[in-house]
């Protein structure tokens, strides 16, 4: 997969075991092995791509599934740099994974301003089956999402619930913003150019 064929770089971040790999597996390959295969933590990061059709336009999503372990934290920039969208995953049955996404929000806000944040609450099937397993308050999750102007999705990689919707939203948002920024750029080119420069340096 060549880099220049990718239109949107999407990165998944979040505590290990939060369900990132399963989410990507479900989206790319429409499968869920969670029941049969024991947990396999991701090493470094894994790359996958998918072509989607948005309103007749073909767009390639380049998806980076990261490990989420602390030892790669200092190097995580190489994975999220220039990402257009970040999916911050937390496990609905594990509060500590929710607390962890604040860290990633901070990272992205300082280093990747242009990256749109999506918060993804995973393993919905588990709390659907047994509401007692819920460990993260719904309101709290919504509040955080609102706070950082992120969209919140509750997904299940087991049933596939909401997963296509999540990636579709990413693709659509990208298409819309590409259009508007193109137009904007033409209009505000003269007075904005100086302000924009430091920004673009930052992201290279």
């Amino acid at each position: 997969m060549s880099g220049n064929k990718v239109d949107i770089k999407v990165v998944l971040l979040g505590k290990s075991y939060a369900g990132k790999t399963c989410l990507v597996e479900r989206y790319l390959h429409e499968r869920f092995n969670g029941e049969t295969v024991p947990y396999q933590n991701t090493i470094g990061a894994a790359f996958g791509a998918k072509k989607v059709d948005v309103n007749g336009k073909k767009i390639v999503l380049g998806i980076w599934d990261t490990a989420g372990s602390e030892r790669y934290e200092s190097m995580s920039r190489i994975y999220y740099r220039n990402a257009k969208a970040a999916i911050l995953c937390f496990d609905l049955t594990d509060k500590s994974s929710f607390d962890r996404i604040r860290f990633w929000i901070g990272e992205l806000q300082t280093h990747e301003e242009a990256c749109k944040i999506y918060i993804c609450a995973t393993k919905k099937d588990i709390i659907d089956a047994d509401p007692n397993t819920r460990d993260v308050n719904e309101k709290e999750a919504q509040a955080l999402a609102k706070d950082v102007m992120a969209e919140l999705y509750e997904t299940s990689s087991k049933t596939g619930e909401n997963i296509n919707e999540l990636f579709m939203a990413i693709a659509q948002y990208y298409l819309e913003t590409v259009k508007t920024t193109e137009v904007k750029e033409d209009m505000i080119y003269l007075n904005e150019v100086k302000k924009r420069l430091p920004c673009s340096c930052k992201s290279t």
Partner: protein
């Protein structure tokens, strides 16, 4: 084990005479190797000793031990202090609460334990049981080491019953190996060094030191979470794969011409700035290695790479991009590794190691092109064919009474050995055979005199060890073989290996 020891007094002959084989012709030798000619066993240990700063009182003991009757020499390493504390330890353990792992029969019956703890005594890893429940025993280990350390001495080994305890202190870490098997003290030390290098491989030495300098009490498990399987896998590997003991790598048997095609595919399509090593491995065997001219790969690093691939299912689902430190190459920094499988059945793994962290997509393209070329020339087919059929059986060597052997070519740091066949097919027999090799290896490397040939008659088989400038050979015969016929047989074997060397070894080092 004690059988072996007893028998050995009457039945071992050591000699420094040469066999008839001409050394210049050592099979698998190469003037142009791609791996660092691996340190012989002694060098490796010398290095370990250098690493452990303080007093090295015990070293001369082992080295100058003229009689060198194997395991017994270790008993002499026992210092008074070690004896005392060993006793103390035995008293302490039974007092522990009984739900503790330490008291479970299962835990106690494991033939090998490996522990990692911090200088402050915090548990980091245990091969068996959960390190959490082993806080007490690790505390004792830490106390032992610091107790002896306080006396400006260093605790290297102690013997309690038929258990050997071996200690290695490195960069704020304390590694402890406990074995009731055939491993010698030196061999356990070598295993601990591998485990230490595995830590470095996921963290780098500089990070490790930085962490503990900032907080002596740091719980390193946080940094190693997810890496436990690398340790488990590595320790298992050391009990089944002789390459780690020999400091040598096994190559997948392939025709020289196929090897050439594979290496050239990497050269042609991955000649990228900042790419340091390109290699293809399968099932703990090396298929091809291409390197930048000025850098060589150390077999120890290569074993860690194989371990990484072996222990990670996650590379099978997607192209991966991960930091990886090769301790022998550069313990202070990470290389970035592009890792992917070339075949659908996920046997053949390509690794492209670079210093450019931004080159994922470039390397991803390289991978596609390499794969294309390998398909075009049927090389992937040749690899899977070779994997499917057994490498070679001992019969193919055509030598009566020879049951099995390990042959290491020193200059290329590669080794070869036939498939295991009856009687070495059950796990118990396989372990016993490996135990014999460990014994032979230990004897030939730690004798006072520089041994060249060691002939040993055991109860079930006869062993011949032969070390020269160019090679190390460990051969296992049926029990009735005489020394003369064994020497005659290994000479014949060497000629056979020589004839097969193109297929069994990678003799040409290919560079970008």
């Amino acid at each position: 084990m004690s059988d072996l020891k007893e028998a050995e007094h009457q039945n071992t002959s050591e000699s420094s005479d040469q066999g008839e084989f001409l050394e210049e012709n050592a099979p698998g030798e190469s003037e142009n190797p791609m791996l660092i000619a691996s340190d012989s066993y002694e060098n490796l240990n010398y290095e370990i000793l250098d690493g452990t700063s303080t007093a090295q009182r015990q070293t001369p003991n082992t080295e100058s031990n003229e009689t060198s009757t194997g395991e017994e020499s270790n008993n002499e390493e026992q210092t008074e202090t070690a004896n005392d504390v060993a006793k103390k330890k035995q008293e302490i353990v039974p007092v522990e609460e009984d739900h503790d792992d330490v008291n479970s029969e299962h835990w106690r019956s494991q033939s090998k334990h490996i522990f990692i703890l911090s200088e402050a005594g915090k548990p980091i890893y245990s091969r068996h049981g959960s390190e959490d429940k082993l806080v007490t025993i690790m505390g004792v280990m830490q106390a032992l080491v610091s107790f002896v350390g306080d006396a400006k001495d260093s605790l290297r080994c102690m013997i309690a019953g038929d258990h050997k305890f071996v200690f290695l202190v490195r960069d704020h870490l304390l590694l402890v190996g406990v074995s009731s098997g055939m491993d010698s003290t030196h061999q356990i030390l070598l295993q601990l060094t591998y485990v230490y290098n595995q830590v470095i491989s996921v963290l780098t030495q500089s990070t490790l030191c930085k962490i503990f300098k900032q907080r002596r009490n740091y719980d390193l498990r946080r940094m190693l979470s997810g890496a436990e399987k690398f340790f488990d896998n590595l320790i298992n590997l050391m009990d089944s794969e002789p390459g780690l003991l020999l400091g040598a790598v096994r190559c997948l048997p392939l025709d020289g011409s196929v090897r050439e095609i594979i290496a050239q595919s990497i050269v042609q399509h991955a000649k990228i700035k900042d790419l340091v090593f390109g290699l293809i491995i399968t099932n703990n065997q090396l298929i091809a290695l291409v390197r930048i001219k000025k850098y060589y790969l150390h077999p120890m690093d290569l074993h860690l790479i194989m371990n990484l691939v072996n222990a990670s299912e996650s590379f099978k689902t997607a192209e991966s991009w991960t930091p990886l430190c090769l301790p022998k190459f550069d313990s202070s920094g990470f290389l970035q590794a592009h890792i992917s499988y070339l075949d659908d059945s996920c046997n053949t793994c390509l690794l492209l190691l670079t210093v450019d962290r931004e080159s994922f997509f470039t390397l991803s393209d390289c991978k596609s092109k390499i794969k294309e070329r390998l398909l075009k020339y049927n090389a992937l087919r040749a690899i899977s064919d070779s994997l499917q059929k057994t490498a070679y059986g001992i019969q193919q060597c055509g030598i009566n009474d020879l049951r099995h052997f390990l042959y290491k070519s020193k200059s290329t740091a590669q080794y070869t050995s036939p498939e295991l066949e009856a009687p070495y097919v059950t796990q118990k027999e396989k372990d016993r055979l490996f135990g014999l090799y460990k014994y032979l290896h230990h004897r030939i490397h730690t004798s006072g005199r520089p041994l060249k040939i060691l002939f040993h008659v055991g109860p079930y088989e006869t062993l011949l060890g032969w070390v020269t400038q160019g090679f190390e050979l460990y051969a296992v015969f049926g029990p009735l073989v005489t020394k003369t016929s064994a020497i005659h047989a290994v000479n014949k074997l060497l000629r056979w290996i020589k004839r097969e060397e193109d297929r069994l070894f990678i003799l040409n080092s290919v560079t970008f």
